[in-house]
C-alpha cells in the first residue's frame, strides 16, 4: 500500500518536515529532524531504485488525474539514480552538519538553516522525480531560493554578495527555463514530458521549437555552471558554510545536469537536440574549454574551497563532454561521473569542513604540516584528491576511463588530450595542497588534533565510498549503463 | 709494489694467450695481444676524451641553485 505512494512520499516528507523544522526551532531538534528526514528519503530512493531495477519505470499520478492533465511523476533508472545520489549525500552531509553548523552559524539561525536545507532537498528531489516540465521549474525555484539562503549564511560577508549574484543568475536561468517551457506549451499544449516527447517531433522544425530549445539549454547551462556561465559558482561554494558547500557541490549541479539530460534526450530526443541542432559540438567545445580553463584557474587559488569550486567547473566540463559524444558510452560516462563526482567532491568538501572546524580557515598557507596535525582528515582529502585526478582504484578513474573510451570510440583525439591534460592539471592543484600539508613546515603552535567523530566519520565514509566504487563497479557502472540505454531509448 | 704486480700479471696473461688460443669469431681477435692493446688504448682514450668533455661541462656545485 505504502509502496505505491513512495514517489509522492519522496518529495512530500521533506516538504512537510521543513515547516515542522521551523516550528521546532531548537538547533539540536531541527538537526535531528533533518537527519531523520534525509535518511527517510534515502530509504525511499533506495526502495524506488530497487523497484525500478526489478520491474521497470514507475508511473505515479497525483490526485487521480491521468498523465497529460494532472501532474505525473515518472521514475526510470536515470531519476532513481539521481534521487539516490541526492538523498544519500544529504544524509551523510547532514550528519556531518551538526557541529560544523554549530561552529559557523549563530544558534538563533540554525533552525532556519535546517529549514532551508530541507526545502533545498525537497527541490532537488522534486526536480529529479517529476515528469512535468512546469513542475520541474517550480522545484528548481524551491531548491534555488533555499540554496541562496543557505549560501548567504556563510561567515564571510562575501557570502552575501555571492548569494546575491547567484540569485540574479539563478533567477535568470530559471526564467529562461520558464520561457522555454512556455514556448513548448504554446506549441504542443502539454507540459507532461512524455507527452511533449510524443508531440514535439511533428512541430520540431519551427522557430518556436528552436527558440524554446535555446532558452531551455541556456537556462539549464546556467544552473549547471557550464563555462562561461560558471561565474557565480566559485564564490557561492567558497563562502557558503562548509556543510552547504559539500551538499551543494555534490548535488545541485548534478541535478541540473540531470535536467539537461532529461530535456535533451527524453523530451527533444537526441536526434533533434544533438544532431539537428549544433549542440553536440557546442558542448564539446565549451566542455573542453571548461576543463582546461577551470583547472588552470584552480591551480592559482589560495583558498582551497575556491580551488575545489573551480575544479567543479572543470568536472562539469567532463560531464558535458560525455554528453557531446552522443553515444551510449559517452552518456553512461556522464551519468557515472554524476555519481562519482558527488562522492569525491563530497569527501573533499567534508574534509575541508573538518579542517575549517579545527583551524578555522581554508587558506592554503594555513595547511602547513596539516598531514601530521590532522592525519585522518588529510587522508580523506588525499583520497578525494586522488579520485579527482583519476588514479586507478578510485571512483574517479572509472568515470574518466569510460569518458576516454567514449572519446576513442568517437575518434575525437583532441578531446582525449583535453581529458589527459585536465587530469594532469588536477595532479598539480591537488599536489599543491599535499605538498604544503605533508612536506611543509610543521608549525608547532598551530592547532592540531582531529575533528570530532561525528564530522570525521561521514568524511571517511565518503572517502571509502570513493575507493569502494573504484573497485566494485557493478552498482555504479551497471546502473549508469542501463540508464544511458534508457535515455537513448527515449522516455 | 702493486704496480709491479699489475705489470707482471699483464705479461703473464700475454704469455698465457699464446698457449691457450681463443676461439676467434672476428679476424682481428686472433692477432696476438689484441685484447691487451684494446683494453689499454680504450681506457686511455676514454679518460682523455672524458677530460676534454669535463672542460666544457663542469660547473660549480651550486650551479643550479643560483
Amino acid at each position: 500500500m505504502i509502496g505505491a505512494q513512495l514517489p509522492a512520499l519522496q518529495v512530500v516528507i521533506p516538504l512537510l518536515a521543513a515547516p515542522l523544522c521551523l516550528l521546532l526551532y531548537r538547533p539540536f531538534a531541527t538537526w535531528l529532524l533533518t537527519v531523520v528526514t534525509s535518511a527517510a528519503t534515502l530509504v525511499i530512493s533506495t526502495l524506488l531504485l530497487t523497484q525500478v531495477l526489478d520491474s521497470g519505470p514507475i508511473d505515479y499520478t497525483f490526485g487521480g488525474w491521468a498523465a497529460p492533465f494532472g501532474i505525473a511523476y515518472r521514475i526510470d533508472l536515470v531519476n532513481a539514480y539521481v534521487l539516490l545520489i541526492v538523498s544519500a549525500i544529504s544524509t551523510v552531509v547532514s550528519v556531518f552538519a551538526r557541529l560544523s553548523v554549530a561552529a559557523e552559524i549563530e544558534a538563533s539561525n540554525q533552525g532556519i538553516f535546517y529549514t532551508a536545507w530541507l526545502l533545498c532537498l525537497t527541490g532537488l528531489l522534486g526536480i529529479a522525480i517529476t515528469g512535468d516540465a512546469f513542475n520541474l521549474f517550480v522545484f528548481l525555484e524551491i531548491s534555488s531560493l533555499s540554496s541562496y539562503v543557505l549560501i548567504a549564511m556563510g561567515q564571510d560577508r562575501r557570502a552575501l554578495t555571492a548569494s546575491y549574484q547567484y540569485l540574479i543568475m539563478g533567477t535568470i536561468g530559471a526564467t529562461f527555463i520558464l520561457i522555454g517551457v512556455g514556448l513548448l506549451y504554446a506549441l504542443t499544449g502539454t507540459l507532461n514530458m512524455a507527452d511533449l516527447a510524443e508531440r514535439l517531433p511533428a512541430v520540431a522544425d519551427t522557430r518556436t521549437a528552436r527558440a524554446g530549445f535555446a532558452f531551455l539549454t541556456v537556462g539549464i547551462a546556467l544552473k549547471i555552471a557550464l563555462f562561461p556561465l560558471h561565474l557565480w559558482l566559485p564564490n557561492a561554494y567558497a563562502y557558503a558554510p562548509s556543510a552547504v558547500s559539500a551538499f551543494l557541490a555534490a548535488t545541485a549541479t548534478k541535478v541540473a545536469v540531470y535536467a539537461l539530460l532529461r530535456f535533451l534526450f527524453s523530451v527533444f530526443g537526441e536526434s533533434f537536440s544533438l544532431e539537428t541542432m549544433p549542440l553536440a559540438h557546442g558542448l564539446a567545445v565549451l566542455g573542453s574549454v571548461a576543463v582546461l580553463f577551470a583547472s588552470l584557474v584552480a591551480i592559482f587559488q589560495h583558498n582551497i574551497k575556491r580551488m575545489l569550486a573551480y575544479s567543479s567547473v572543470a568536472q562539469i566540463g567532463y560531464l558535458t563532454l560525455g554528453i557531446s559524444f552522443v553515444s551510449e558510452l559517452g552518456l553512461s560516462a556522464t551519468i557515472l561521473h554524476l555519481f562519482n563526482h558527488a562522492l569525491m567532491k563530497g569527501a573533499l568538501f567534508l574534509a575541508l569542513g573538518c579542517i575549517a572546524w579545527r583551524i578555522g580557515s581554508a587558506r592554503l598557507g594555513d595547511f602547513q604540516g596539516l598531514g601530521y596535525r590532522m592525519p585522518w582528515t588529510m587522508g580523506v582529502f588525499l583520497i578525494g584528491g586522488l579520485s579527482l585526478i583519476g588514479i586507478p582504484t578510485t571512483a574517479g578513474f572509472i568515470s574518466k576511463w569510460y569518458l576516454v573510451l567514449a572519446a576513442l570510440e568517437k575518434g575525437w583525439w583532441p578531446v582525449l588530450v583535453v581529458i589527459v591534460i585536465g587530469s594532469l592539471l588536477a595532479v598539480v592543484y591537488i599536489w599543491r595542497v599535499v605538498e604544503i600539508a605533508y612536506l611543509g613546515k610543521r608549525l608547532e603552535e598551530a592547532p592540531s588534533g582531529e575533528a570530532p567523530l561525528s564530522m570525521l566519520l561521514p568524511a571517511c565514509l565518503l572517502a571509502l565510498a570513493n575507493i569502494y566504487f573504484g573497485i566494485h563497479t557493478e552498482l555504479s557502472v551497471g546502473v549508469a549503463h542501463e540508464a544511458a540505454k534508457a535515455l537513448f531509448g527515449g522516455l | 709494489m702493486i704496480f709491479k704486480a699489475l705489470v707482471s700479471a699483464c705479461v703473464a696473461l700475454v704469455i698465457l694467450e699464446i698457449i691457450f688460443h681463443r676461439h676467434a669469431s672476428f679476424p682481428w681477435e686472433s692477432w696476438p695481444g689484441f685484447y691487451a692493446l684494446w683494453g689499454f688504448v680504450s681506457l686511455f682514450a676514454i679518460v682523455v676524451v672524458g677530460k676534454r668533455l669535463g672542460r666544457g661541462l663542469k660547473r660549480d656545485e651550486d650551479y643550479y641553485d643560483e
Binding site: F134, F137, V138, E141, L145, Y148, V149, A152, R157, R158, L160, T161, S163, Y164, L167, I168, T171, I172, A174, T175, L178, I179, G182, Y185, A186, G189, L191 | -
Partner: protein, 117 residues
C-alpha cells in the same frame, strides 16, 4: 496575422530586453532586482498571451461559450508570480544585509572593498 497583430509579443520582447539591460548595466543592487522583475514580468505576459484565445470567453463550461481561453497558462503563471515575489523579497533582504555589511549598494564599491582586503 499581421506584424502588428502580434504586438503583445513585441511588448514581451521589449520588456525582456529592458529588464536584461538594467540587470547588466546598472551597478545598483536594488535596480538590478527591479530589472530582474521587469524581465520576469515579461515572461508572465508571454504566458498570459499564449493562453488567450481571440474572441474567447472565460473558461466556463456552458453552452454558447465556445471558444474559451485556455486557463492553464494563467494558473501556471500564478505560481511563477509567487516565485517571482519570493525571489524579489529574498533579493531585497540580501541587499539589506549587504548594505549592513558594506555600507553600500553599489556593486563596484562593494567589489573595491573586497579587492582591497
Amino acid at each position: 496575422m499581421s506584424f502588428g497583430g502580434l504586438y503583445n509579443y513585441w511588448i514581451v520582447i521589449l520588456l525582456m530586453m529592458t529588464g536584461f539591460y538594467v540587470v547588466i548595466a546598472s551597478g545598483n543592487l536594488v535596480k538590478k532586482i527591479i530589472g530582474l522583475n521587469l524581465f520576469q514580468a515579461s515572461v508572465f505576459i508571454l504566458y498570459i498571451s499564449v493562453g488567450k484565445v481571440a474572441g474567447g470567453s472565460a473558461p466556463v463550461l456552458q453552452d454558447g461559450f465556445e471558444p474559451y481561453s485556455n486557463p492553464l497558462p494563467h494558473v501556471l503563471i500564478l505560481t511563477a508570480i509567487v516565485v517571482g515575489v519570493a525571489t524579489t523579497a529574498l533579493g531585497l533582504a540580501l541587499v539589506v544585509r549587504i548594505r549592513e555589511a558594506y555600507d553600500s549598494v553599489e556593486e563596484d564599491e562593494i567589489h573595491d572593498q573586497d579587492e582591497s582586503l
